[in-house]
Symmetry: C2
Subunit: 356 residues, 2 copies
């Protein structure tokens, strides 16, 4: 396997965001040396880094369209950058392949390069190794944010509204019924949304929905609770509101009476691999967020709010585990759900018990 040749042929055509910036190659050098030398980061900006591994038969099927896989491999990391309000900058790529299949590589690089170009990212390095069994793709992505302005998970405040971008649930539904559904294959990371929320200082906290809405909400609460200390936070989520942002496949299934609306909403709350953002914003930001939805032509749905735990409707005293979510059914009454009922569901990831 001639790794160097492989990278040159398939990936060197990826856009070099760092080129054309008036630097000589000693100041900005991509693939082909022991390491990449990146153009200097503009003053007042800082680096945001995320890495994701996609493993065959776990995160994608062996017969996936390689162009779609190339897209997805980068989209997963871009969705993390979106949740930070970061601007994509550069990335590295590790390919663990059973062998060199030229048509596969051509298709894979096409999907990857197109998404990189769309977001002005440079491929600055990589490694290609040969494996015997499962293939894997690893992307490590770097983005930039103005110093101290990254959107974090831990800023949730009492009184915040909870918002979800786009629609949820088509992933999990499609896997079962239409495994080649488009959204699953061509996820669009919400970079414009994340950057706008940060620039306009609309959101207190944000997270990307990769493990399912309910799980991610748990992460927001835990992280924010850890910072708040002593004050309990409760998130109240209304299925009635969530029903406004069901994916079209899932909505169609409800319309055909294949499942009832409440089931569909709970499915949407568990569905992972969604590439949407969950964010928290003060009530006062609602008009600006609605304007942003129009501007971006992207559905943004308020699905609930955050309160102090001691102000929660059940009157229950704050426990040690003071960060909690309460879910309300379509009739407005609190649901009593087991933890499992809202546990994250990852499309290609078998439940732990099924692993071999």
């Amino acid at each position: 396997m001639d790794e160097f040749g492989l990278i040159q042929v398939y990936f060197a055509g990826a856009p070099a965001a760092q080129q054309g910036c008036g630097l000589d190659h000693r100041q900005a050098l991509g693939i082909g040396d022991d390491a990449a030398v990146l153009a200097p980061i503009p003053q007042g900006q800082q680096l945001v880094v995320t890495t994701d591994s996609l493993v065959e038969n776990r995160h994608y099927l062996a017969d996936v369209d390689p162009t779609a896989l190339g897209h997805k491999a980068l989209a997963v990391s871009l969705s993390d950058l979106a949740a930070m309000g970061a601007k994509p900058w550069a990335f590295t790529l590790n390919l663990h392949l059973r062998g060199i299949r030229k048509p596969w590589l051509e298709a894979f690089s096409k999907g990857l390069n197109a998404l990189a170009l769309e977001h002005g990212m440079s491929l600055v390095g990589g490694d290609t190794v040969s494996v015997q069994a499962e293939e894997a793709v690893v992307v490590t992505a770097m983005g930039l944010v103005p110093l101290g302005q990254a959107l974090l998970r831990d800023g949730l405040q009492p009184g915040d509204e909870l918002w979800v971008s786009g629609s949820l649930g088509d992933g999990v539904y499609a896997l079962k019924h239409k495994p080649r559904a488009k959204k699953l294959l061509w996820p669009q990371p919400r970079l414009a949304l994340g950057q706008a929320l940060r620039e306009q200082q609309l959101a207190h906290a944000a997270i990307d929905i990769s493990d399912g809405l309910a799980s991610e909400l748990g992460h927001l609460l835990e992280r924010s609770q850890a910072r708040a200390r002593g004050t309990g936070l409760t998130a109240h989520v209304h299925l009635q509101s969530l029903s406004q942002c069901l994916g079209p496949e899932l909505q169609a299934a409800v319309n055909r009476n294949e499942l009832d609306l409440q089931q569909a909403c709970l499915l949407a709350a568990r569905s992972g691999d969604e590439y949407e953002l969950l964010f928290a914003a003060p009530l006062a930001a609602r008009p600006a967020i609605e304007a942003l939805a129009l501007q971006l032509d992207l559905r943004l749905t308020p699905i609930g709010r955050v309160d102090l735990t001691n102000a929660c409707p059940t009157g229950q005293p704050a426990s040690n585990d003071m960060a909690q979510s309460r879910w309300y059914g379509l009739d407005g009454h609190p649901l009593s759900l087991s933890q499992d009922a809202l546990a994250g569901f990852n499309h290609f990831q078998p439940p732990a018990g099924q692993e071999t």
Copy 2:
């Protein structure tokens, strides 16, 4: 697999180089959000990035000491940073594991964290996924260099001397005869050397010896030739000089008459996974390089020099492929070697023909 818990338990103890720099968490945040937020890069510095995949049964044996593997996983990337003259800064870690084995993780993280601490690096992110077959470890490392001062591969100039750090060949010899030889398991990346060469502006070009000296020399020539255009570069390498930096295991085997010195030198020239640097420096830099060797307590051996191709001793005219290496035997006469005789030899990598 609870990835978040796993990272917290085993790796969050890794040193946070970015902590204690007077920044609040919004300006420097490690593991636990959608992405890491890195402390601002000091002005006048730029980022250097490299990534390496280690795959079980290919780059390490399944029964490797996990502490040694943790060390090696980071050392591979640090060796690349060393070759750029970069100062280590931060890294991400992807673990592709068949399952969570606590003693293994404890040992692995011990080796990794110790090397990270030694070089003041922060683990700033990662991903842990479950695989069915071969395990793999991916490290993406970031370092810093002053703007425009990275040591590149393409600066080779006629008249340069070629130098090798440390000793060569024990890797390939040990694999066959003593598969647990220390150097193979605990490689020491030559960071102090790389940084000193850069700071003192001693070297025109440098590369890390991961595919074998002969291969890496080929890379230096190719890259430099591409920049030089029109002028042919020839590297002249003397086995007599190379015999001064054989690894102790290899030298001992020669002393025991298990192989002759010329064979040993050719083995050293092919041996990969060496974590040593090959660098080119003008003749005038020799006294400073010899002083550096003393200062770092590290053997630095001149093994040959670079000439214009049309000045090469055979009087052969410059061809299209004007970058070439000429090797001279212990008797000083040119060797006629097939390309294969000096092809890189990677310890755990079976030759292409043997792959299944």
